[in-house]
Symmetry: C2
Subunit: 339 residues, 2 copies
């Protein structure tokens, strides 16, 4: 079968010049792999569509919290039809169904992939392939992090990289539940778009008076949680501007610049805190019923059209080798691979 195959193993050995994927050929090759085989409680899926997430970009470059294995296909999630089972009631029951899946541990950028039966989500017809292929990583992260906002008790919260697919999911969900997101972006044209989706404030972090503007909003709206995909010194300024009890929750690293803690005294005297969020940890520590509820929320939102995945491009495996970096650089949408 055809696949995009990892050329390197382990983690990157030096700090990257850029987090964005710029060169496919260093990390991946388009080639043939043996058909994968399912063990007990696993299934083989014929992949119809696989998504490309920021976590894939980082993983391929060795910058993600999971070791690469040279010779394996890349790709964390997708949608496809279950063609065979390795045995076990759940796996057997999935045969012939269209499912959203998380590849175990990876391999979605291939014609066929193995997944744990327990992580496969049978899809209802109303969910498009484009939504099914991106139904795990972003939606569950959005739901889990928004849950963290809800538990904190303040209606207002801050997100960076506000125009990302993930943030759009959070913004529309927050609006429906009466919350007031403050979205940070880097392009003026994203401001009206996100306000239309439900963001209470949208600030361009490149503006000269950004910190001042944010400071006024923080005094008024009192956001306690900052969900941050960038983790640079702009992020550090945002955290520094927030009030008492603020939590800076880092879940991505879209910039190579390292952030400086501007006032360590704030951690002492204002009970501020810096932490991380990783879906994989959430999966391992969250009770099953909460996970199932999150998955049902995601499927329902996509089926009703409350959530919709914006598509930038759908590329074949071969096209991905050529133009994935270029397509990923375009704003406002998601790139898919169709093996």
């Amino acid at each position: 079968m055809k696949a995009l195959i990892l050329k390197e193993g382990g983690f990157a050995t030096k700090a990257p010049e850029s987090i964005q994927l710029t060169d496919m050929a260093t990390h991946l090759t388009f080639g043939e792999l043996d058909m994968p085989e399912a063990k007990e409680d696993q299934v083989v899926i014929k992949v119809s569509l696989a998504s490309v997430n920021p976590s894939d970009e980082m993983f391929i470059q060795g910058l993600y919290g999971q070791k690469r294995i040279a010779g394996k296909a890349a790709g964390f999630e997708g949608v496809g039809e279950v063609v065979s089972s390795g045995g076990g009631a759940v796996a057997d029951g999935l045969k012939g169904l269209r499912v959203a899946f998380a590849a175990s541990p990876q391999g979605a950028w291939a014609e066929y992939v193995v997944a744990e039966a327990a992580t496969c989500i049978p899809l209802i017809d109303a969910v498009r392939d484009e939504d099914g292929a991106a139904m795990i990583v972003n939606p569950l992260t959005a739901i889990a992090m928004f849950d963290l906002v809800k538990k904190e008790g303040e209606k207002s919260f801050i997100v960076s990289a506000g125009a990302s697919q993930l943030c759009k999911l959070m913004i529309s969900m927050a609006k429906d539940e009466g919350y007031s997101p403050i979205a940070l972006v880097r392009r003026d044209e994203q401001i009206d778009l996100l306000k239309g989706m439900g963001a209470t404030h949208v600030l361009n972090a490149e503006n000269g008076n950004f910190v001042e503007e944010l400071s006024g909003i923080c005094r008024n709206d009192k956001p306690r949680v900052f969900l941050d995909a960038v983790a640079n010194n702009t992020s550090a300024s945002v955290f520094n501007t927030m009030g008492r009890g603020a939590r800076w929750v880092i879940y991505g690293k879209l910039d190579t610049e390292l952030p400086t803690i501007q006032e360590p005294g704030q951690l002492i005297f204002m009970q501020k805190q810096i932490e991380g969020f990783w879906l994989t940890s959430w999966m391992m520590t969250t009770p099953m019923e909460e996970k199932v509820a999150a998955i049902q929320t995601a499927q329902t939102r996509f089926a009703t059209g409350e959530w919709k995945t914006d598509v930038t491009a759908i590329l074949s495996l071969e096209e991905a080798m050529e133009s994935l970096p270029e397509e990923l650089a375009k704003p406002n949408g998601k790139v898919f691979i169709k093996p």
Copy 2:
């Protein structure tokens, strides 16, 4: 009455060149104040000895989490005799007793001071004035932070500024309870001293191979908590060297250098976390029985000699104006003011 009086109000308006107190006359004046008066549930104490803590140094310079009030006496804690009560059963019951006190909100560097009756600790004779005058800020911080280590479940933990009075208290307590402190210092002569007190490892953070050495210890001993009074880039390296689930707990800022988060990905993928500790918050959020237990632990340890406050100097109010910065710069002991 005579007192060391704050010349400035509010917080410092610019970042300091040094955290250490270098110039008394900018911030304090030696002068006369009216005798303080106790309200209900308060007492007036004739101060026999007041301690000088790092928090006093920061407060006087406007760097602490509490606003200065120009014209009030400085000083957070001390020991003395209760000479009058503002009324209320507890306050009345304290009359004539020797007590350790926390000044409310400050004023211990004076002949007389007002304190909340509820914060006064009647002392048994076996506790020396030098221990009673330093029985609240450092000992309760030590007990509360060591409790945080115990709750985390690993026997090993790291402390910076290892030769401070506070760390010595923690190290000897940890040894007695079978824990393994890793102490960081900046002078070789402190290494044997702290090993003698119970530190399992003592590292000079100025050594070239410090990070490498710490890295080996972390792999083996797996410390989860780093109690940090310095908050500079050496601290950031310590945190970066620690393993999965590490908590960097900042409780002081002995260096003006601002720390950079060296690998934000560790917060995401290794569940690391950066937070603060402030005794005032702990006091406000901890149940009364835990606080009483902590106070009894402190008094018992001082009475039995398990804890002993090392004295660098005891200065009169007038002498403090002259030589407090110079005495504070000496290592290994505590400075007191005797009004």
